[in-house]
C-alpha cells in the first residue's frame, strides 16, 4: 500500500465533538465485506450520515459542512473498538489526511499510520480551542507540519507539538511503509529462528 507523502499541509476542518467514536461508527461492520481497500469512503460514518430511510442526515457535519476539509477533529478516544483497518481506509478514501484528537485508541493509531493518515494528538485544551475556532468560523484553517511535529490554528497562530516516533515520521514524509523495511530484514529473522 502506498500513500501520498505528508509534510506540511494546510486545510479546513470538519469537527465531531464527541468522545469515544468507535470504529463501528466510522465504518459499520456490514460494509466490511468488500475484499479490496477502495471505496470505503462512501460508507464512512454511514449510520450517522444517513437516516434509516437512506436519505441524507443534513445536520451531520459530513453533509452539512462543505469546505473540502482534509482534517477531521474529534473528541477523546477516537477509533476505539475493533481493529478493522477499514476505518482508516474509509477516512482516507473520503479525503481525510489527518485526524486531530486528544486521545487515540492504539490499534486505530497504528492502522492510520500504516495508511498515510496522520493521527495528531493534542491536549484537551488545544482541542477545545480548535472546536471553538470551528464554531466561530466554518472555514477555519489548521496547519500541520509533520517535519516540525506541530499543529497550528492559522487565524490565531496558537500551536502545539504532537508526538510521533522518528521512524513513523520518516515513513509518512517519504510515503513508504513497514513491509519494505521488514522484508529487508529477513536474514535477521532467520538468524533469530535459528538461535532460539
Amino acid at each position: 500500500m502506498s500513500f501520498e507523502k505528508f509534510e506540511v499541509r494546510v486545510s479546513t476542518i470538519k469537527v465531531l465533538p464527541l468522545e469515544n467514536i468507535d470504529t463501528d461508527q466510522i465504518i459499520p461492520a456490514r460494509f466490511l465485506k468488500t475484499t479490496t481497500r477502495e471505496g470505503f469512503g462512501d460508507n464512512l460514518f454511514y449510520d450517522w450520515r444517513y437516516n434509516s430511510d437512506g436519505s441524507k442526515n443534513e445536520s451531520f457535519v459530513i453533509n452539512s459542512v462543505d469546505n473540502g476539509a482534509k482534517f477531521l477533529v474529534a473528541g477523546r478516544n477516537f477509533g476505539c473498538g475493533s481493529s478493522r483497518e477499514h476505518a482508516a481506509w474509509a477516512l482516507y478514501d473520503y479525503g481525510f489526511r489527518a485526524v486531530i484528537s486528544s486521545f487515540f485508541a492504539d490499534i486505530f493509531r497504528n492502522n492510520a499510520l500504516n495508511n498515510g493518515l496522520l493521527p495528531v494528538q493534542v491536549s484537551d485544551e488545544f482541542l477545545s480551542k480548535i472546536f471553538s475556532e470551528a464554531d466561530s468560523d466554518i472555514n477555519a484553517q489548521i496547519e500541520i507540519n509533520l517535519k516540525e511535529r506541530s499543529v497550528k490554528i492559522l487565524s490565531t497562530g496558537e500551536y502545539e507539538l504532537f508526538p510521533i516516533d522518528d521512524y513513523k515520521q520518516s515513513c509518512l514524509i517519504n510515503g513508504y511503509d513497514d513491509i519494505d523495511f521488514l522484508c529487508a530484514l529477513k536474514n535477521k529473522v532467520e538468524d533469530f529462528e535459528n538461535r532460539r
Partner: protein
C-alpha cells in the same frame, strides 16, 4: 529490578530494534479470518511475495458466516465471496484452514485455545481486536490491522512499540450468581474505556487464580474494551491442565519440558508496573450496561447514573442514553427486552452454555423474546449435545444455532432490528453494533438466561 511476564516474553521475541522507534517482534502464532485478510493477501500478490512461514498461520471463517444451514452454500453473495477468497488464499499459500463444518471451525479466539494452538509464552496476533483473549493462557496476544496481517504473512514479524504495563489485582471470593463477565464489566465501569490505552494489563490476585481457564478468557477478551493492547494471566496449574492433551499441544517428553518451563513463567516479585489497580471481588454484583460503550456498566439493581459534566463528555453521554431509550436515574430491572444473544468469543464456550442452561432448566423461554444461542465453535456445539445441555435448552423452547460470530457484530443475518433491546453476552454495545439502531445491553450468561425466561431485565440471583 525484576521483570514482568510481559517484559520476559517481549524481550525473548525481539529480532532487532530501531533507535527511537519500534522493535521488530517475532510472531509465533498468527490467526486469520475472512474479513481482515483478503486485502493482506492481495497486497502480497501485488508485491510478488510468498508467505514466509505458512506453518505459523491458521485460518478459520467466522465473522460473516450464517449460523444456520452451514452445510449448504452461503446464500448471501457478499458473505460468500470473502469466505471463498480465504479458501483460495490459504490453499495457494499452504496455510491450514478450518472451513465451515470442519471439526476445528469456530470463532477464531475460541478455537485457538481449544485446539492448543494458543500456548504459554508465545507472541500471538490476529486481525481482530479480541485477540487479547489468548493472553489468558500466559502469552502476549494482541489485535492488528490488515497492513500488519500482511507484514506477518510476509516476514513473520511486526514493528511494535513496547506497551506500558498495568497490573490489575482482584482479591476475594465472588458471590454466588456473579461470573467473570461481571468482574471485567465492573473493572471497565470503574476505570473507563480508555484507561488501558497504551498498556498491556496483567490480571492477578486470588479471585483470578480461582477462575477456570474459560472464565479467565472472558476477562482477557474484554481487556481491549478498556483500551488495553492486551491482557495476560500468568500460567499456573489451571493453565497446564487445560492445555494438556489438546490437538496441537506438545506431546510426550516435549510436553513435560514445555509445561515445566511454562509454570515458571511469571512476573518477578519486584517487577515494575506503570500503574496498579486493586479491586475487591466481594463488591462485585451481576452487571449490565445501560449505554453505548462497555464502560457504561452498573450493578443490575442500580439506576442509570446522572451526569452533569461539561462539553463533549456530556454530549456523548446524552447521545448514548437517548440512543438506548433510557432516562438518567432510571432503574433497568423489569424493563422489557426483545432479543437474547448468547455466544461470541467473550461467552460462547461450553461453561457459558452450562451457566445459561442451569437457569433455564425446567423453565420456558419467554414468548416475547427471540433467542440466539450460538456456540463459539464446532467443538462447543458437539459438547453441548454430549452433556445433554441441548435437550435441556430445547425443552425450554430454545434452538441452538451453528458456530460463528453472529449477532456479536451483525455481519450475517443475525441482526437485532432498530429500536429493539438485546441482552447480549458479547463484548460491545456500540451504536449499531448488532444491527442499525439495535440497542445492546451487555451482560454475562446468567443475566442473559434470566432475561430469556422472563422477557425483562431480571436479577439472576432470584433463580439461584
Amino acid at each position: 529490578m525484576g521483570k514482568t511476564i510481559v517484559d520476559k516474553i517481549w524481550e525473548s521475541h525481539i529480532v532487532s530494534e530501531i533507535e527511537n522507534g519500534p522493535s521488530v517482534l517475532y510472531i509465533d502464532r498468527h490467526f486469520i479470518h475472512e474479513v481482515t485478510s483478503p486485502q493482506a493477501f492481495s497486497g502480497l500478490d501485488k508485491r510478488g511475495l510468498p508467505v514466509f512461514r505458512p506453518g505459523n498461520t491458521f485460518a478459520t471463517c467466522d465473522h460473516n458466516v450464517p449460523t444456520k444451514d452451514q452445510e449448504k452454500p452461503i446464500r448471501d453473495e457478499s458473505s460468500r465471496i470473502p469466505v471463498e477468497k480465504l479458501a483460495q488464499n490459504t490453499q495457494k499459500h499452504g496455510i491450514s484452514y478450518f472451513p465451515l463444518g470442519h471439526k476445528n471451525n469456530g470463532v477464531v479466539h475460541i478455537i485457538g485455545p481449544e485446539l492448543g494452538l494458543t500456548q504459554c509464552g508465545m507472541t500471538i496476533v490476529c486481525g481482530d481486536s479480541h485477540t487479547s483473549t489468548h493472553g489468558a493462557l500466559g502469552n502476549i496476544a494482541f489485535g492488528i490491522g490488515t497492513s500488519e496481517v500482511e507484514m506477518v504473512l510476509a516476514t513473520q514479524t511486526l514493528l511494535q512499540k513496547k506497551p506500558k504495563q498495568m497490573l490489575i489485582k482482584v482479591e476475594g471470593a465472588l458471590a454466588s450468581g456473579v461470573c467473570s463477565k461481571d468482574i471485567i464489566l465492573y473493572i471497565i465501569s470503574k476505570l473507563g474505556t480508555s484507561s488501558g490505552t497504551g498498556y498491556f494489563v496483567e490480571f492477578s490476585g486470588s479471585t483470578i487464580s480461582a477462575l477456570s481457564m474459560e472464565e479467565r478468557m472472558t476477562i482477557c477478551n474484554m481487556s481491549i474494551e478498556m483500551g488495553a493492547r492486551g491482557g495476560i494471566i500468568a500460567p499456573d496449574e489451571v493453565t497446564i491442565e487445560y492445555l494438556e492433551g489438546r490437538e496441537f499441544s506438545p506431546k510426550g517428553e516435549n510436553w513435560k519440558t514445555m509445561s515445566r518451563q511454562w509454570l515458571s513463567l511469571k512476573s518477578d516479585e519486584d517487577a515494575h508496573f506503570d500503574v496498579v489497580h486493586i479491586f475487591n471481588a466481594e463488591e462485585i454484583e451481576p452487571m449490565i450496561t445501560y449505554g453505548t460503550n462497555p464502560g457504561m456498566g452498573i450493578p443490575i439493581g442500580s439506576r442509570v447514573p446522572l451526569i452533569t459534566k461539561e462539553s463533549s463528555q456530556e454530549a456523548s453521554f446524552m447521545k448514548s442514553i437517548e440512543y438506548m431509550g433510557f432516562e438518567m436515574g432510571e432503574r433497568l430491572i423489569g424493563k422489557a427486552i426483545d432479543y437474547v444473544f448468547i455466544g461470541s468469543c467473550t461467552n460462547g464456550r461450553i461453561e457459558d452454555f452450562r451457566a445459561f442452561a442451569s437457569i433455564v432448566k425446567g423453565r420456558k423461554k419467554s414468548p416475547d423474546v427471540v433467542a440466539w444461542l450460538v456456540p463459539g465453535s464446532k467443538r462447543v456445539e458437539g459438547q453441548i449435545e454430549k452433556e445433554g445441555l441441548g435437550d435441556i435448552l430445547r425443552e425450554a423452547g430454545f434452538e441452538i444455532r451453528e458456530p460463528g460470530c453472529s449477532a456479536c457484530l451483525g455481519m450475517n443475518e443475525d441482526k437485532v432490528p432498530a429500536g429493539k433491546y438485546a441482552v447480549s453476552t458479547s463484548n460491545r454495545n456500540f451504536e449499531g453494533r448488532q444491527g442499525p439502531g439495535a440497542r445492546t445491553i451487555l451482560a454475562g450468561p446468567y443475566v442473559a438466561a434470566a432475561a430469556a425466561v422472563t422477557g425483562v431485565i431480571t436479577d439472576p440471583r432470584e433463580f439461584l
